[in-house]
């Protein structure tokens, strides 16, 4: 596992994420969000889970990010108004980060390096999905169908 790559990717991801959380213009924030997810996918690549990384890019950049920008487009009239920034949220977030970091550093069993493992091929994932995880897979299919229908019903024009 490459240290240099790790540093580059984490800086990119965290910077993009911070931009997504704080940028004034909503559209820029949404695009930074997409960049942050590219970074997370890169993390997955680094960790050897290529398939999950590709799926993440596919779903988040190809679908969720586009959905978000479409929502921004459809609620456009509301965007220009200036909004306040809730500083209490920053305090809570920083406190939580400190707490988490402290507890992670405090746990010695976590300071391990990655063992060598067999490459995770798509075939293995497919076999697992079709054998041990076949029922969860069906449930996810059902959930996605329900979400599709639900989203359609929600955005349908209200009849007056």
């Amino acid at each position: 596992m490459n240290g240099a790559a790790f540093i580059v990717i984490s800086i990119l991801t965290l910077a993009a994420a911070l931009a997504a959380a704080t940028l004034r213009k909503l559209m820029h924030a949404a695009l930074s969000f997409a960049v942050a997810f590219v970074g997370i996918a890169a993390f997955f690549f680094l960790l050897g889970a290529e398939f999950v990384g590709l799926a993440l890019v596919f779903i988040y950049i190809g679908a969720v990010a586009v959905l978000i920008v479409f929502t921004i487009l459809l609620t456009r009239r509301d965007i220009e108004k200036d909004r306040g920034f809730n500083w209490s949220g920053v305090i809570i977030a920083v406190a939580l980060f400190c707490g988490l970091t402290w507890s992670i550093l405090k746990t010695p069993s976590l300071s391990i390096v990655a063992p060598h493992i067999r490459a995770l091929t798509v075939k293995r994932i497919g076999e697992a999905l079709m054998t041990s995880y076949v029922w969860p897979l069906q449930c996810i299919g059902l959930l996605l169908t329900a979400a599709l229908i639900g989203a359609l019903v929600l955005v349908m024009e209200e009849k007056r």
């Binding site: 590709l54 596919f58 190809g62």
Partner: protein
């Protein structure tokens, strides 16, 4: 002899890398990757230049005129002239535009288009980047195009741009489903998402004559046609070029672009077309394999590019022949016809597989496709017949 010609580019790269023997491993890796990237860019940018002039000439032939024939022999240097013109043109950015997004859109769209080229096997041992889930990579990166188109539309802050971008995204979303689902039967039958494995699965010949390309199975033929049409839509080509229909919305999301940025969009469109055609060749037309065993002495990459050229010619031919469709027709076809047919291809492939992949499977899967096709065409028949058009003054 033929083998060494076949592997000439691979050997050349090895030879290049042998100069670096002794350097640390990551240096060799980076150089190897850079070599691949340069080779890829060189080949496809040349092809882009070539096809841009060839398209104009072919279209001209279809329309009974000459086409560009002034610059260089047969007008072959036309792209150079075009390029110079594009480069020295003024780059106009609208005052109210979102300047960052406006700038990033062409960059992103070109980058994704070029990235998709990386996973296609161009010949024996000639895949630039070998990824386990290569097909998924292709689509994952390809789907980023939609975001880039949106950025172009939004960043321009122009009604035509926004409308064009909306149209483009709507139709690309709708056709991405059939596009991916038509790939699934191939992936299912081969059992792998790796392009090389898919090409290798089509290597054999029935009776040493008919190649076992997937396009020669009923489900493969149906899937290939659906794939090709979806590919036409994905690359916004005629007859599905409503996003940039100049008679309606100027140039769609590219309205506010000029000069080199416009050229970048143009290039991305062509490279997207190459990538989709290349994937089609890989998935259905046997990749770099020769159509007859005897002809395998001709190098594999030649076969690949011959097949690619045929597909590109069909693209141009379609553009020269068919009128533009309406956006509602495009969407209707996507959801009511393409999607069910794509699912049928999956079922037909499964039937083919479980009926033993022989003649019996061939006939059964043909039956499945025929039944669904007939049922769909009966259900979707609106009974609106086209009146015979009379051209009074054309004769």
């Amino acid at each position: 002899m033929s083998k060494s010609i076949d592997q000439v580019f691979v050997n050349a790269k090895q030879w290049l890398l042998s100069w670096l023997a002794g350097s640390p491993g990551w240096v060799i890796q980076v150089v190897s990757i850079l070599t691949n990237i340069f080779a890829l860019l060189a080949v496809f940018l040349t092809l882009f230049a070539l096809i841009s002039v060839l398209e104009r000439k072919i279209l001209a032939r279809i329309q009974n005129r000459y086409g560009p024939n002034r610059v260089g022999p047969f007008g072959l240097f036309q792209p150079i002239a075009d390029g110079i013109k594009m480069l020295i043109k003024e780059d106009i950015v609208p005052a109210r535009a979102d300047k960052i997004v406006h700038f990033l859109a062409p960059v992103l769209i070109a980058a994704t288009a070029i990235l998709t080229l990386g996973v296609i096997p161009y010949g024996r041992n000639m895949t630039p980047f070998t990824i386990d889930g290569g097909i998924l990579f292709f689509f994952a990166v390809g789907s980023t195009t939609e975001l880039a188109v949106f950025m172009a539309g939004w960043g321009s802050n122009n009604k035509f741009s926004m409308l064009g971008a909306m149209r483009a995204i709507a139709q690309m979303f709708s056709y991405e489903l059939p596009l991916i689902i038509t790939v699934l039967p191939v992936v299912m039958v081969v059992g792998s998402l790796t392009p090389e494995r898919i090409v290798a699965a089509q290597a054999e010949y029935t009776f040493g004559l008919v190649p076992r390309w997937f396009v020669f199975t009923p489900w493969g033929a149906a899937a290939f046609i659906l794939f090709f049409v979806s590919g036409l839509v994905e690359s916004n080509r005629t007859p599905f070029d409503v996003p940039e229909g100049e008679s309606e919305i100027v140039a769609g999301h590219m309205t506010e672009y000029s000069g080199f940025k416009y050229a970048t969009f143009f290039m991305a469109e062509y490279i997207g077309m190459f990538a989709i055609s290349g994937l089609g060749v890989t998935l259905f037309l046997g990749g770099w394999h020769a159509p007859v065993r005897v002809l395998e002495i001709i190098p594999s990459y030649v076969w690949f590019f011959v097949k690619l050229s045929v597909l590109l010619f069909v693209y141009i031919w379609v553009r020269g022949t068919l009128p533009r469709t309406r956006i509602d027709q495009i969407m209707n076809v996507a959801w009511k016809f393409m999607l069910p047919m794509a699912f049928t291809c999956i079922i037909a492939a499964a039937v083919w597989h479980y009926a033993g992949r022989g003649l019996r499977g061939w006939l059964w899967s043909l039956l499945v496709i025929a039944i669904v096709y007939t049922a769909l065409s009966i259900l979707l028949d609106t009974r609106r017949k086209f009146a015979q058009r009379v051209y009074r003054f054309a004769e």
